[in-house]
């Protein structure tokens, strides 16, 4: 039993190391290879769209990994490598979308929604407070005694206004 658990633990520990990159693809220079790995994580495999270049075994991913390494060996900076790929495959190859005017909604949209929600909550809280203070005068809302027969929907707010 203990051996079994150990085996499972070993498998779990080994899992993150599992990658699609074959040893033959790797560069001998460890610094360049490390840069290639970092780039491979940030680039999308165009074929299997939710995998990064490094995670994919698709033929096109293998080809693109080779090109990334070729460019690095040729002396390209990381930015130049990405530019090389986006010139051919568009911004879509970048797993993290770039910040530009067409993607502002993407980057700042969630923040705007949170701010908007905050404003709505703040305003309704203030209104509730004012209403409570108003009711506090005699404990009864005057409008509640309005016996207009048209107010049959039982809604407190609609009766009040």
């Amino acid at each position: 039993m203990r051996l079994f658990l150990l085996a499972i633990l070993a498998l779990l520990l080994a899992a993150p190391a599992a990658q699609a990159i074959a040893p033959s693809e790797m560069l001998r220079d460890p610094v360049l290879e490390a840069r290639a790995r970092d780039l491979g994580k940030e680039l999308r495999c165009p074929k299997c769209q939710n995998q990064s270049l490094d995670d994919s075994e698709a033929g096109i991913a293998v080809d693109l990994r080779r090109i990334v390494r070729e460019r690095l060996v040729a002396g390209d900076t990381d930015v130049q490598v990405k530019a090389y790929l986006t010139a051919r495959y568009g911004d879509f190859v970048l797993l993290k979308p770039p910040m530009k005017s067409t993607t502002w909604a993407l980057w700042f949209g969630p923040l705007a929604v949170i701010l908007l929600g905050g404003v709505v909550i703040w305003r309704s809280a203030r209104r509730n407070k004012a209403r409570l203070a108003e009711m506090g005068d005699d404990g009864l809302d005057d409008d509640m005694q309005d016996d207009n027969p048209l107010n049959t929907d039982g809604e407190w707010e609609s009766a009040k206004r």
């Binding site: 165009p46 074929k47 096109i60 080809d63 051919r88 879509f92 809604e155």
Partner: protein, 184 residues
């Protein structure tokens, strides 16, 4: 009017639901080419020798960038004998070439020449020029995701449209042929 705050979340939900619903129907491969309106990439490919073209011409001509800017719009089609969907779309390519007079250049992607010839012999060879892209490098220059993929090139040799996946009769009739017509 006071009921509006209660309806607002419902309205927001409806908006999101509609957009997600539309999104479900989108093909994630269907992205515009990064080369749109730009000159087609530089390449020079060796020919596929020994073709038996349907129009009887025998020469085996190479395919290079200079052959794409001829003043006439054309198609560049990436194919391979090992690719199933290529087989499905091939009769439609043939039909565009024979009945509509469309010039179609083929790029034979990572393929064995003998198998490529057998593929074309079986399905009919209506390509104008066929270049052999043995290591798939030219496909990457074009930003090909996976074959089959077809590009519409205008008379100046600029990329005007990218169609990923097999061309259906509907796409040929309603998208590609009208586009070629408008580029003439």
């Amino acid at each position: 009017m006071k009921r509006l705050p209660y309806l607002l979340p419902l309205a927001v939900f409806a908006c999101i639901a509609v957009y997600l619903w539309i999104g479900l129907g989108n093909d994630p491969r269907n992205l515009p080419s990064a080369l749109l309106d730009k000159p087609s990439p530089q390449f020079d490919l060796p020919p596929l020798e020994g073709r038996a073209r349907l129009d009887g011409k025998q020469e085996a001509l190479p395919l290079a960038t200079r052959h794409l800017a001829t003043g006439k719009p054309m198609l560049v089609n990436f194919f391979a004998s090992w690719c199933g969907p290529c087989q499905v779309e091939h009769p439609i390519l043939n039909q565009m070439a024979t009945t509509h007079g469309v010039t179609i250049h083929g790029i034979n992607y990572k393929d064995d020449p003998a198998r490529a010839l057998a593929f074309l012999g079986r399905l009919g060879d209506t390509y104008d020029r066929v270049g052999r892209d043995l290591d798939g490098r030219v496909a990457i220059e074009f930003g090909v995701y996976g074959i089959p993929e077809t590009f519409v090139i205008d008379g100046q040799g600029r990329v005007q449209y990218r169609h990923p996946g097999p061309i259906s009769p509907d796409v040929a009739q309603n998208t590609i042929l009208p586009l070629l017509e408008s580029l003439k």
